[in-house]
Symmetry: none
Subunit: 191 residues, 4 copies
DNA sequence: GATGAATGAGCGTTCATTCAT
DNA sequence: CATGAATGAACGCTCATTCAT
């Protein structure tokens, strides 16, 4: 196992444990075990647990963004792009429930404390796509003239809520329901 | 300090610490300190930490529901009642940010595990107000024909998101913004 | 309830709890509860827990000795008296298993530490009957010429062991078995 | 200090503290101190205190049985074997007083609760030597026709009593006294 | 570089004892 | 006197982090 592999194994092990059992169920020793490395080894790759968790978060974003941007075409209308991103986001979380659960844990833990600025469950930072789209939307008067933060709330709030409820089994999202849910968000946001 | 006072002090101390620093920042010893009592005293009032936390939750609901139901008139139109509740909820969380933060911690911790079914950040089944209102809304075809869970997401998702962002200082919600935000939710939900 | 009654209630409650659950299952608060008095009240009658336990021990002996001495006739032969006491002792413990269990707990706890000199599971101190009997037995050459302590071991050792096993349910002692057991002891001790 | 040494140090420290002060005088922190290790270290070797205590018990038996079986010859008469085992047992406890005191504590504590069936102060079922010997003794009509449990009481009762009194300093057992004591037991048990 | 045994501060909880009422 | 609420030291145990090998 080379250096990068080891690092990846640690991240994977940590992500799984946290998603499955929460932070309280993911002590360093267990992460090391599941990653197949020694407990001390983790500290060669990550200064401490906070840093490991933070890295996990960054790592997640690096997988999330390419995914939802696949097939995203700047030349489409604002509405079309809005629907694409919302739909893609729901698909991503449904396909990767561990990632959803990790995010949920992350933003309500001491580890997420420094990332709180990454509002809206983390879907903002570096998310120029969303910023750009919403800026365009408001300046072109296609979206309501509300602060960006509120528009984000109207968008991500419902999406994350239904993703959570799907993952918790309170609802079974299918293509049609996803489409209609994202469409409803649009109606709340459009002018 | 009499018996009730002491119990209240413990609840207040616990609520504050949890809201400010999360569960990890609220060990029993610190709660006792801040409440001005001995560590063992807490256990005269609450069987164990889980029970204390659970009581904190119940206690919060006992303050939240009367508040948002003040001035709620069943004879108003569905839209009017929808706007009333949404506005009242935002007001409550803005006025009681500690309660918002406590709920946020609560539902993402082992303590809230049994209450997960109480979906949508504590607006739970027993909250017939919301259930009743939404049932009426869909059956009268005033609201979209979506599963209750999705409608709840479209309602509470944005509200809780903007409440959080206000509390975190990312926006300053005033009466007008509150009204417009809740109105936007309505537009997403109405048929 | 007068002063003596209260004291007796405390002793009774303590004895029961200790016999039933051991010392670890008899905190002062529970003793007070079962005695129907306040926790602080115990300290009016007994300086501290050690003293209470010690008193319990003395109290037991005050009930045990009159019992086994009933029908004890100094004019009987040494053998007859030996058999009488042994039989009476077994009867007492079978009839009062709580007392047996208390003694057992007592002599293996910090509380019994000062009473260790009361060897042979407590059946020695003040037990002039036994001392007298055995002195007589050795000086009259009816018993083996062994140190008193050894003779006591040959007497109380088996008796307490079978009492324990009866109470634990490993054996069902009836009159005949009691008689034969005490007789066997005698055979070991007699010259 | 290597791994085995550390484990042994912990066992030794625990045995000593329990023998000297009983279970109440052997908190984990003190055991760790006396063993010269950190408090947490104990838990690398023993899952919890119960397991540590249980191991202490097993460990003792592993030293006790080989010791008393040394020189034990099945071809000897029942009486000879009886005397051998009794003598060896007394020698063992006199030589290892800490072991005697540990056993005494063990069987009168919550820790020994599961071992209660191992009657007669730890001379338990696995001790086929004793069972076998006594079975042979009764079936060959060399021993009295009493239940095994009573015979055990007549054997171990006195032996453990005199061992205790020697350890407590009430008598000084020498070879002759040991021999005569065990012989007295035999007289009580033989037909 | 990798390891995992060792650490000890910190946790939730219990309970003998005190003392204001 | 009697009370029982209050105390806080002490317990068994966990786990992020270190460091000798």
């Amino acid at each position: 196992m080379n250096k990068t592999d080891k690092r990846d194994e640690i991240l994977r092990a940590a992500r799984e444990l946290i998603a499955e059992h929460g932070f309280h169920g993911a002590p360093m020793a267990l992460i090391a075990d599941r990653a197949g490395v020694g407990a001390g080894t983790i500290y060669r790759y990550f200064e401490n647990k906070d840093v490991l968790i933070g890295e996990l978060h960054r790592n997640l974003e690096e997988r999330l963004y390419p995914d939802i941007l696949t097939g995203y075409l700047p030349e489409q209308t604002i509405r079309e792009r809005f629907l694409h991103l919302g739909t893609a986001l729901l698909h991503y979380f449904i396909t990767n429930p561990l990632d959803y659960r990790f995010l949920q844990q992350f933003y309500n833990s001491p580890y997420g404390v420094d990332h709180r600025r990454d509002k809206i469950l983390g879907i903002k930072e570096g998310s120029d796509v969303f910023c750009t789209l919403f800026s365009e939307g408001t300046s072109q008067q296609v979206m309501k003239d509300l602060p960006m933060v509120v528009l984000f709330g109207l968008y991500f709030g419902p999406l994350l809520a239904v993703a959570r409820d799907h993952i918790l089994g309170f609802i079974q999202l299918d293509e049609e329901l996803i489409t209609r849910t994202v469409a409803a968000c649009w109606e709340g946001i459009q002018k």
